[in-house]
Symmetry: C2
Subunit: 132 residues, 2 copies
Amino acid sequence: MRNRLVTYSPEAAFHALADPTRRAVLDLLRQGIQPAGQIARAFPVSRPAISKHLRLLRRAHLVQEKREGRHRLYQLNPEPLKAVDSWLQQYRVFWQANLNSLKAFVEAEHARETGGVEGERKDTAKRSRPNE
Amino acid sequence: MRNRLVTYSPEAAFHALADPTRRAVLDLLRQGIQPAGQIARAFPVSRPAISKHLRLLRRAHLVQEKREGRHRLYQLNPEPLKAVDSWLQQYRVFWQANLNSLKAFVEAEHARETGGVEGERKDTAKRSRPNE
DNA sequence: CCAATATGTAACGCTATGGTTACGCATTAT
DNA sequence: ATAATGCGTAACCATAGCGTTACATATTGG
């Protein structure tokens, strides 16, 4: 049952990607298959810590383990990321709309302010509180 | 510095998206701007719980709050998702390559297992342990 | 067979999370 | 004014996470 075309739910993937170290591990694996120890050495945390991240990534099917001698080689498996991608898909239309409407807005703003500086206000305007 | 074309780091977004309720809130907001209470009523958890999720989403800039009378209207802001999208971008090539190289890899694997060459046994191989 | 190497797991400890209830504060309705 | 409505925050709780230090297990080298 190798390449079964399973469709992963985004749940596990989103959860796995929440940790920056895990994302970095995946980024590292984009360079190619690597043994656990080598992966661990690339990070400032202990090996067991990486081992646990790898376990989680394994369970999320984001990496695949292959044993070779006393080594455990880890390979990236991008499949689950497709689920993330398709979740995101529903939002692309929004930031595209944004590029338009926002662009229009910005241009209008600019026109309005031509002489002015723009620096500030307008929108966010209100509060002194940053975001919150 | 209003609509500064800031580029959000994926950090906050990935963190915010890790929770299924928060993703659902965003999904809900795709339908349009809504007051906090109405959002809360769409979920099985208490209103304060949603209030906290909204605060987090706000800080991640994934939603924008607008006060109107005694209501707090929430609007989706897809911008930070672009950071997620571009992180993902680096992986797209993999799941495309996958259709090819992975297939090759899998086939090679299969061949290796059937013909069973190579001295090592791998055997033990594939484990009885499901994924783990 | 024994030491060294490569890893995963168990047991802890501390902080972060997500949920709950109680409460405080505007805004709107009577 | 007073009550009702809409929300956010504080204070708590229980659990999930992530890191650390032993420790157990499998593989390779002498």
